[in-house]
Symmetry: C2
């Protein structure tokens, strides 16, 4: 049977950077994060499955992926991990054809949309074939969000079907368990505000660099957790002060405070990276130029927020009314063809085709 699924990328305003080291493989975040699922950048996945023993065939962006390649191993490890709890995963062979409508591995969070699309597709497999297993492990978006998390942490946020502004919560209590069921489902994401809550919000992706980043997020965040001397203080501040304040700003559609908090969160993340040993610097000279431009524009009136993930490419937030003016201002630093404008959109879905 064949399933089609689709999931958006998401851009976090409160970032995910660091896992509980006791459960490294299970991507349990040290703190909560908050993102927007975006309308125009997504992964489409075609999943063909049949009874089998867990064999995987993978095609990414119309190219067959070699079983020894890194991309293949990511997917394979994900299935292996799932099968430690859900052994029925191995009851099938999977042919996965997946494609992104945006450049892979250039800061557009392709692993987020990719694993979200895969997770909802797998859920559909069991909904169709093994209702008891579905009931046990996949019968809510939050469970599927947890499943996606095991592929790539930030994929958890791309799952909730309403999309929009999504909160991925850290576990409610400290985890010290050996219970795989608890470890799997301790941390998931849900929509706080649907895409139409803030109709005027606009999101600019700016592609300053097209090449892959030097340091993978996975190893980078591990370094930060273990070596940044004030990592845990940053976690406390983000969890207890910055996150509630930005949720409030979004709730009220208070752009000024939203922008301030978003900028603070981005600066904080990159300060933590800078204070990691050895230090991590994702921002390039070009990134800094964009920051200066944003601060310069905002010095008159707050019209922009910037946010940098683990890469050099900025994502800017603005309002519809400022869109043209911002585009003009950006043209001094960046080519218009490298600016992609979108807005909050829906989350993931899967259907039989």
């Amino acid at each position: 049977m064949k399933i089609f699924s689709q999931a958006p990328t998401n851009i976090a305003v409160i970032k995910y950077w660091g896992k509980n080291p006791k459960f490294e493989d299970y991507h349990i975040p040290t703190k909560s994060s908050l993102s927007f699922s975006v309308l125009d950048f997504y992964t489409k996945t075609y999943l063909d499955f049949k009874p089998g023993n867990g064999t995987i065939f993978l095609e990414l962006n119309n190219k067959k992926i070699n079983p020894n390649s890194e991309e293949f191993l990511y997917i394979k490890n994900f299935f292996e991990k799932l099968s430690t709890l859900i052994k029925e995963i191995k009851n099938y062979d999977y042919s996965i054809k997946t494609e992104n409508n945006f450049p892979t591995a250039a800061g557009f969070a392709s692993s987020a949309s990719g694993f979200a699309a895969l997770a909802v597709a797998i859920a559909k497999v069991f909904e169709l074939s093994e209702p008891k297993i579905f009931e046990k492990y996949f019968n809510s978006e939050q469970k599927i969000s947890s499943i996606a998390r095991l592929g790539s942490g930030s994929a958890a946020r791309s799952v909730p079907s309403a999309g929009g502004c999504v909160l991925w919560s850290k576990p409610k209590q400290d985890l010290t368990t050996q219970d795989l069921n608890k470890i799997f489902f301790c941390s998931d994401a849900k929509t706080l505000f649907p895409p139409n809550h803030w109709e005027d919000l606009r999101i600019f992706y700016i592609q300053l660099e097209k090449k892959e980043k030097k340091i993978k997020s996975r190893s980078g965040m591990k370094q930060s957790v273990s070596s940044c001397p004030i990592y845990s203080n940053w976690v406390d501040y983000e969890e207890n002060i910055l996150l509630p304040s930005i949720i409030k700003a979004i709730e009220k559609k208070d752009f000024e405070n939203f922008a301030k908090s978003t900028i603070k969160a981005s600066n904080g993340l990159h300060a933590i990276m800078y204070y990691t040993f050895p230090r991590i610097r994702y921002l390039t000279d070009k990134s800094e130029q964009i920051i200066e431009l944003v601060l310069d524009i905002n010095s008159k009136s707050t019209k922009l927020a910037y946010s940098f993930d683990a890469g050099p490419n900025p994502v800017l937030f603005t309002l519809k009314d400022y869109q043209e003016e911002i585009l003009d201002a950006l043209s001094s630093v960046v080519n218009k063809k490298d600016i992609f404008i979108t807005k909050p959109g829906a989350g993931a879905f899967a259907k039989v085709i």
Copy 2:
């Protein structure tokens, strides 16, 4: 009578960034700092004094300074501050001719050497003219270090006559006093290791930019104290972990650990600045290039430490044996004429001429 004094600049490896806001004017640091007084960069001051009412004449680098100019007001405020406790300061008129043997206000810490040279000269005034006042306020290097601190915090570290590696300690206990005598003398610097303790240490000043910095340290550090969410955590880490570890490395002449701690301290300072709101960024693209070069060289074997103050110009530490190799490596990024090589040297002195 005429006094000549001389004081070196100093380069901190554990930085001073932030004052106790309750005593803003008195430059009481939130944490201790550690520096090297350097051999080749210093301020020479000629102080002519005669009975009077506190009138000041100021010449800086052979140029008469206008009484309304910023430089003049710095000096005037310093005398005013001193006179709140030591009213005899106003018993004299002062003609101050001062010159730096290095570019002023380009990251060579001219206020440190300048106020240190002035403080030891003023001490000499009272030693010669009013022994009772001298006994009360100037009869130890640590007291004179405190006096220099009131002009510019980091000047405290340029005073101890032995120079070398100098520790400027934060107050031993929390200050809540109104007692000016306590406020003046609560925090001073002393030599931990004289210059000849580590004969092979070399210090490279690299002048990437000659112009003055955009944000003065005074306002920058005030912003950090009030707005960086993890400022106090950084203070705790530096005071309790990093400072003892770097002192130990210097004691043992353990260059590898010295370099690691020095780099951590520099990264930490700039992370705190980056996480200040609005953010402060002193490092330029050129600065980052130097950092990359240092990390690249160290990836084979630790031969360098970098340290950035509140400005773009790096100071590198290395050992005599590596000096030529490092100079060659730097030539790809920076002109040789902009590299100034020195080593730890003595502190301040004053004499009658």
